[in-house]
Symmetry: D3
Subunit: 190 residues, 6 copies
């Protein structure tokens, strides 16, 4: 699997040249991350789609929240594991390893979050995200109550739900397009 | 069920007053649609979240696409039916009835899209959206090939995927928060 | 979907002429309901089958029971929703709207009964009917106990079970034959 | 498990005395079968329910059909196996053994019909019955076409569907009431 | 189904002649059981595979354990029923009938163990084995705690798990090869 | 997750001292692998169980076969991913990385084997192993035919089945006991 696959299985090339603002954003990615995440390149055939995606992503994953960035990445990986999404397990698994400094935690989120040595509060958060992914129609008052009982505020419940829901979206865009994660993620933070 | 339930089961009140631009947007909704869709009111506890949601929604559902607005709404309802999402089946079922002028088509999208009298191309589109919803991990080259065979371009495949993926997100936000659709949808365009 | 589809996908025409008693029954339907329900026309290729079907239907849905007629129709729709049966969701969804005077309740039974604002006793009844539909092999003493705890008698439990079971039958006859509901149901009691 | 369990887990005793016609019917059963099948005793708390049940049963399982009685019993067991129904697998498994004179065939219908050495036409019939049981919402034109291709008429397709549907009903009545089959079935025709 | 099918659907004939030790083992089987179980004949194309299989089988099913031999056979059949394995339901169903002297118990293990009249401790054991079979990823501390609460030691929990796990293996070897049980099992101990 | 968890959630300590042969085997492991795999330590409360396990493991994974050792490890990981087994995904994922020299391939086997860039023959092998894991009851002649068509011999089909079946066993022992893989696997061969 060492040869470089195309970024996605749909023939939708990046705009060339990119609009200056997009080019600038990609340059910043290259500088800060050492790469331009492939998801951004995949969306760059249409700048409006790229922009709405990044705006939502940045608000959810980087904005203010009672959930730590690590916790949001944990939700991302657990949802992506439930959906068996190649791109998101690779990219966000790396993020869990980086933010936690604990490679084993990243592996547990990918493989079966139930084995992870995490707090009871985090376990409740991931149980909610997993159920919301697998059987959204069965979510009911007792599920929200379980989150409140371990100390989550209604705003935090909204954030758990929004992050889990967002990755249910991106997992499906990635699956439908067979999006390939950047190779650099695989060995990072091991 | 005639009494008015709260818009969602989380206690996250709308900002009061709303920022002027949001208030203006809501006023336009009220004028044009005769209501402010509850999903917008639900998100209005945080204007950044409201804005990223509406930007993505408007691009996907109202922007340029090889898919008609009706076809995008058909995908929306089929995905929401697979996930049994109360809010989205009600609101987008009404949209299918309105855009098609065919109340029976709206019912079929909600109840079991396989009975609908639609084109083979539309059926392929909905089969893809349904499979992407139910088992995203099983989507593979033959699924994309099936769409190309009936005449969809790669850009249109992206749009089918994006719309299906988006409703997999919103269905879960609605389920997690028990979001209530506006009562006016139920009787509309019957 | 406005053109009239054949009543079912099997070529089994109604007896012509119908036996006098059947013709009389159909005339009464036409007078009272303004239509002859398609299910009756579908079965009318064989009068014995029609008669055993209507006898069982009438006993279960119209006979004496501790369950109200509305409650029996609610079970009918919830089962039909679990099985995604086009005919029965349409026809019995209309019945729920008519008997309750609450169009929203009919929609909730179709889309996801868990959102409905009903009594706890009714919720227990529908939970039992749904589980009996989805995983009949998992029904056990605690499921019956849950019904008794909210006040159902053993006779009423039998009726809940019988109605749920009956629609598990009719849903499958309708699915196997692609039975079409009368168009008049769609707009009725909205 | 040698002690005699009550016929069902609901406290609904048989009428005592039974109406003369019912008593006569039960006497005939005792004479011909050496027992009164427990399902009849279970329904005998309400003669109307007993009568509608037996009328439908007799029409479907004993009436005229292009399907042999053995084939109808094979469908009965395959459906009951899919639903893991104790009563119907026991009683109708015995019927398959009796009608076929092949105890192994009865076991195969209970355990996994795919291993049975039957005709391709019978296999198609059982595949349809199994799919109709498990995922009625997915039945579509190709499923009916597959039956026609192996030589089934539309009337026979109706009969396959009706028998499969009927046992989806009785399996659920039996599950909900924990109905016990007569002990005599277990050793019969081995 | 009376004709003799080949032992498996793969063309892997027994060594001929068998090594003396294997021949001796088969002779003992013939003497004691009146047959050489087909699974042994199926593995006899490769003596190392036969030997590792029988060594593990004998340790688990015949070795020392806090579980009775009957209880281990009950687990075997429940797992094989969950996986609908023809070979193992037939062969081990017969073993349950033999060891218990209760043909009905053997049938219950095959058809739906939840109806069996067994002790609460045995029910907990079978519930664990069934869940471990169906959703091994969901097994967690409360599942082990439930076994300890009804009196199982950690060693006995290991044995329950090992027997259930072993039949999850053999069920799949039998399914993949369409292994046929010896005809003699069907009528035995009825 | 950096602290060292006990090797399993059951209190079954290793024999102390170990029998000399076992001690020698463990010493060899330590020398060659730099560790004693935890699964061996977990089984070492009972030497007979340890020995039958290692004999079967060594025959299947290290013995003669038309499948390469890498291919057998690929099957191991795909099965373990289907069952979401923590221990086996970690330990055998490392083996895939080691034997292939391709860390990305190991990740693909864990996350979703359908994305892997492997030969069509290998894909057929993994599709068979996955189906055998998920729905063993649905395996039938066409599944074996598909393997023969891409060039597998009946002996190789047996090996594919046996390896897949074996990991369906070990995954469940590991799940039931919450077995922990050695920490050294996580960073190995990245």
């Amino acid at each position: 699997m060492t040869e470089t696959a195309p970024i996605m299985a749909l023939d939708l090339p990046m705009l060339d040249p990119l609009p200056p603002e997009t080019q600038k954003y990609f340059d910043i990615c290259q500088d800060k991350l050492g790469m331009i995440p492939n998801v951004l390149q995949a969306y760059a055939f249409d700048i409006e789609k790229l922009n709405t995606f990044t705006a939502m992503y940045n608000d959810l994953m980087l904005g203010d929240s009672g959930l730590s960035k690590l916790e949001r990445e944990m939700i991302a990986v657990v949802v992506s594991s439930a959906n068996r999404c190649w791109y998101c397990q690779v990219a966000h698994g790396a993020a869990v390893r980086e933010l936690s400094g604990d490679p084993k935690l990243g592996e547990a989120m990918v493989m079966n979050y139930r084995v992870a040595k995490i707090t009871g509060k985090q376990r409740a958060m991931l149980d909610f995200a997993f159920k919301l992914t697998e059987t959204p129609d069965r979510i009911d008052d007792p599920d929200r109550a379980a989150l409140r009982e371990v100390g989550f505020s209604d705003r935090e419940i909204f954030d758990i739900a929004s992050v889990a829901a967002f990755f249910n979206m991106t997992n499906r865009v990635a699956a439908a397009t067979e999006m390939q994660p950047n190779d650099a993620y695989h060995g990072a933070h091991r």
